[in-house]
Symmetry: C2
Subunit: 302 residues, 2 copies
């Protein structure tokens, strides 16, 4: 099972009743944070999931509403007792931006590992069993969308194991993914497992226009958390100009990518009641939900 | 009349139910902000006083809970339509810190004027009719306390004006503070005004140990907003170690400086209910109030 919490749903600036868009993702004792705007440490605290297990932050881009909360977050993370390294991923410029912002958080009890991702190609990284993929998107500055994927091995296939004369004492270790060399023979998990089963994929994509590459990237998401800066269809020109999306475009992206569920987020401060425009999305992609601060979903394997 | 709003009352980190300590001060169309921690733009918005008239920020020091909100604040200030320059005051290091933090707020529609204040001596600056005084205090890094003072001229003294043969047509201009040269004579406001009357003084002093110099600096404050990191008297050792104050020390400072009223603020996150310890302060200085987020006071001239 994975758990995701949409920490906030606002774009541009925090509002008294709407926190900035960011995502906290939890699987198997590991946690990943996507974006960290001003105040993001507060909804993290409110989840009750703790800070200490946050292993990585993925930044989409370096507009303040996505990164200004970093120094305060790092200090709070330090106070949580964290000692393991923290990985920070982001588009080129990461090293310079993090170095500048941490001028006010100069002493931390853990190491920070900075990984600048390509703004030209797809990247793949790993945090425990979580596969972090990123793709460049179409915003006013270098910007990435992320997918967090968990793969799921096939079921143990007794017939196959017997047919292949795999010693029974190795079955358990092979099922767990181990490769075993014994008396000159090599045994691999694939020899005892059936076909890989469907895993889980969550995609996070704000601050972009819809593109073909992005639809490919989102393909088959169990949950797509998508850009919904404007609700009304007649705000398309503004969305094109500012490199954002209207609700109906996010819905079309969800439909095209055969995603299972769409959460709209990253609302303009001028969009006071997103629910008023939900039809604009649901007419195109039925399973659209308007994101709210601290909305949580648990997703199980099929 | 001046108006002050304690924007938050927390120290170290923002909490879901407690914003970071900062002050918004308003007089005669001018506004001054003291400190700007993560999230401070939100209570400013909630005052309804607007952003555009904020002319200056005074930073006490560069710990993150006092300055991390700067980039987001500047962007919101830019969105408010501000075009006039913004003055920023703070102890040495200001230029380096502001330059670093504004890496994520690179384009603003107003000029920023940075004024580094002495961390060894008292400084005096002016924003309109507001006199900003600062004094170095005793914290773990360079840190200042501020007082914001309004002077009040004496009453118009008709007898004096007549006695001095001041032409009646100049009376009004002299009362307003103008100096007039006419037919080889020089007329000054002092020639028509009585003795200067009592003005208004608000002092803001967090993140310091109590010192003799600080008591001098706070002298005669109509309102002293003071450090109250810990409530219990037996936390004195911790306060000494971390260069903060306990409630009773802030109260002693208010008493010694003949201040009229004390607001405690900058509570440790561990201090969940400051009201439980108010007696520790009120036994020493009766007119002590525990600060709360968005507490507003209007102070009139006598």
């Amino acid at each position: 099972m994975i758990e995701v919490c949409l920490l906030g749903c606002g774009g541009m600036m925090p509002l008294p009743d709407r926190r900035l868009t960011a995502l906290l993702y939890r699987y198997n004792g590991k946690m990943i944070l996507i974006d960290c705007g001003e105040g993001t440490q507060l909804p993290i605290k409110m989840t009750g999931w703790g800070f200490k297990s946050i292993d990585a932050i993925c930044f989409t881009h370096y507009h303040a509403d996505h990164i200004a909360g970093l120094p305060g977050f790092l200090l709070t993370l330090g106070n949580s007792g964290k000692e393991e390294p923290l990985k920070i991923y982001g588009p080129p410029g990461l090293i310079e931006v993090v170095k500048a912002l941490t001028i006010i958080a100069p002493e931390l009890p853990f190491e920070i590992i900075l990984i600048e991702l390509s703004d030209g190609n797809l990247s793949t990284n790993y945090v425990g069993d979580i596969i972090i993929k990123s793709v460049p998107v179409d915003h006013t500055i270098a910007c990435l969308s992320y997918s967090l994927e968990i793969r799921r091995a096939g079921k143990f296939d007794v017939q196959r194991a017997k047919k292949g004369n795999i010693p029974i004492r190795f079955w358990n270790r092979l099922q767990k993914g181990e490769i075993i060399e014994h008396e000159g023979k090599r045994y691999e998990p694939g020899m005892v497992l059936g076909r890989e089963r469907k895993g889980l994929k969550v995609t996070y994509s704000t601050d972009t226009r819809p593109t073909e590459e992005l639809a490919d990237f989102c393909r088959g998401s169990d949950l797509l958390i998508g850009e919904g800066m404007y609700g009304e269809n007649d705000q398309l020109d503004k969305a094109i100009k500012n490199k954002h999306m209207i609700f109906s475009e996010a819905a079309a992206l969800a439909a095209k990518s055969h995603s299972k569920e769409l959460w709209l987020t990253h609302y303009s401060p001028s969009l006071q009641n997103p629910d008023l425009y939900i039809d604009n999305a649901q007419n195109i992609f039925g399973n659209t939900i308007t994101g709210k601060d601290l909305m949580i979903k648990r997703i199980n394997f099929d």
